[in-house]
Point group: none
Chain length 238, copies 4
DNA sequence: GATGAATGAGGATTCATTCAT
DNA sequence: GATGAATGAATCCTCATTCAT
């Protein structure tokens, strides 16, 4: 569901902190913009790792500062609070994910092509940014509902539109069954994407995946993806 | 994926604490068995609510004790640690869920009947025990990986076997396409179940569901389930 | 300084709890007298062990009750407080020690005989009742000075009198130098006794003893005692 | 046994905190080095007093912080744990003591001169640092055996060597009896030193000393020391 | 702007003691 | 008399946040 399309840089050449740019909503202070790129990147990378590893509550600003080799005072000159740091990360993660999704949406010939590309993207994204995925999973938890800024407000999904549109187009093209419930089918497909992505990031879901598929199948993940595509194709095909 | 078998009591007539019985694994102390039923139930209900609401780390034993109107000392006479209290809940939730899953597995005529029953069960379970579902989602988070040693023992899923078997039977009966990849298809189906269940329990996923389906569809949830069934039927049918 | 004279029973045939009888000062409640001998003994033995092992503060009444297989309620029906239990033990330990000292005092022919007997008694007492000796050492610590009943009030030593008298007698008999300062010499002798006793009970002082004497000498402890006797004899002899 | 070498400052003009310098082993955090001299001194002095007064277990970090007028957080920025604070004190006390012992060892003409100097040093040290002596006594208690692993490393006594060597030299010089058992005699002498030192620091042993000597003798302590020297001289002399 | 010492409320846990059964 | 559940103050320690340098 959240994908990542290969860019000109090869995977592994940079870490998360690279691509984090702030958009309309800002949860950081001006000073953060003014500090060096390296410092910004370090802070964000460390924060992502720790938040992903231990969750929001169990991660301390002091630990982040120490790991990033930055003073606590500096942290508080960049972010007004722990919450704001968390939001900064979540926010930029969203932008990164959304960007990838748009890329895929734009380049997909039809719903089946889209499905195939999304599966690859989910896998790559999960493997390239495992921490980010853990963070995302953690974020969807009710536990963060007490946050001053509601995270659920931030769900501005593009998949419903994209997948819905592609299914409609598929109907017109005769490759998707005419009675397909666009919204529900789009949901089902995205559900499969999300769980696939989680299965490659979270320890718990990875173990679940192993139980389902067995170690042998996991070694040939592209074969699994083909089978998933077959599943989806069967569900949609006219 | 996690089901709920209807009982004679209607939904909402009791809370989680009711049904918690301990099995082979015990994470509570003897004293907990000896205290009054009312107290046991209160403690568990309060703990489930708070853990679900704020997550493991952000929930304090003191909060639970206060809300349950018992002393901190009493809490520690029941459970050796905060972790043990958490495990007690998770454990009994698992038993409850597993029981329901077995009931459905036993009573399903074929994979389509199973799918239909599971969708209903997921919905009922999600709506009847929303907190329990939030807890479960939280538990799958990486953040709790420090407990994963004890937790991962609990991933003894029955769905892979059941669904796999039903798909194989379907092939023999000619109602499932012969080339269906049993394992992957079982996984896809369960992914749809899990996300459906989360969508009805977690605030985040509920909002996502609303974006996908719109308010109008949500009001007629059984219609949605029919559409999901259609999706699955299409994927599997010969 | 605190000795133990062999009785008709052989060493090891009983534990401390046996010999504890209460004297003039009582720190226990009547109920303790009324319970069974076995119970009394168990409670005291367990308490001695735990207090000796961990010290007063770090030993909990709950632990003692558990180890003695007695309810906390019972403990508090026997002793009004933790402090009282401690005093009961200390008190009876004193009686035991004092009794032994009187035996030796009565049976000593002269100061040298007394010294030889005391060295043996110190060793036996230390090895037979190591926990009791640890308790005694702990008790001499300032740490217990906040106790409601001052422990130092309980020092009713007999050694000063006994040793002083024997030294005076030795002078008259011509076996002790006439210019011997009775009090100071008695003190010096008892200092040697005390340290010898501690050296065989406390881990710290045992290690110190090993450093002084080496492992070879420790294996022949009676030889060491002979040397100590030689030291004292030289100090006193006319 | 534990000595104190007179400095230019008179006794009582400063407290323990003054002289604490850290050597090879450090049990405190860097922040402790960085805080003000005054604060360091206050913390250590308060900690020594409270640990000596109530023992390790019965002294709380909170008490120390309160008495030192600093926050609990500050305490934990200086020391990682209560244990480390305790070790810091014990460690520096050891350094102080050891230094004094070396001074005396170097400056002693023979075993009798050494004995005389040690008695004075024990008295001065006991009176100048009574709390430190109480702490030391407490430390030798079995109750602290859980720390003994780290503590026992510190028993690197110099007295056995020094006294043994002086006794041997005395034999050669003809001032010590040729049959003197060097190790045992060194032990006996040090036992007398230790008890003398405790007798002037611990309430319990002070009371014992009073019983032995009477109030009149205590007022002329140097006379008592002369008598002890006579005792030792008698024991050793050829 | 950066630093990191300092603060103190809060969290997990223990334990002396009480009291209903 | 015995039991052990219940209490809650006290303990060790953490951490978000502030502020003087």
């Amino acid at each position: 569901m959240i994908g990542y399309e290969a860019t000109t840089k090869g995977a592994g050449e940079y870490t998360m902190g690279d691509r984090i740019e702030c958009g309309a909503e800002r949860f950081h202070k001006d000073a953060f913009d003014r500090t060096t790129e390296k410092r910004r990147k370090t802070v964000l990378d460390v924060a992502i790792n720790l938040f992903a590893e231990h969750g929001y509550s169990a991660t301390s600003i002091n630990d982040i500062a120490r790991d990033a080799h930055i003073s606590i005072g500096a942290m508080y000159s960049y972010f007004a609070s722990k919450e704001d740091l968390y939001f900064t990360i979540v926010n930029s993660a969203y932008r990164l994910m959304t960007g990838v999704l748009y890329d895929i949406a734009d380049s997909s010939a039809d719903i089946f092509d889209y499905t195939a590309k999304m599966l690859v993207a989910c896998r790559r994204f999960a493997l390239e940014y495992p921490k980010l995925n853990q963070l995302y999973l953690d974020m969807t938890t009710q536990a963060l509902s007490s946050m001053s800024v509601r995270l659920s407000d931030k769900i501005e999904m593009i998949t419903p539109d994209v997948a819905g549109k592609l299914i409609r187009a598929g109907k017109r093209a005769g490759i998707v069954r005419p009675d397909a419930d666009e919204r529900v089918f789009a949901l089902c497909i995205d559900n499969i994407f999300m769980m696939y992505q989680f299965s490659l990031s979270s320890e718990y879901y990875r173990e679940r995946l192993r139980i389902y598929l067995g170690d042998d199948r996991l070694e040939n993940i592209e074969d699994v993806e083909r089978a998933i595509l077959t599943f989806v194709r069967g569900a949609l095909s006219a």
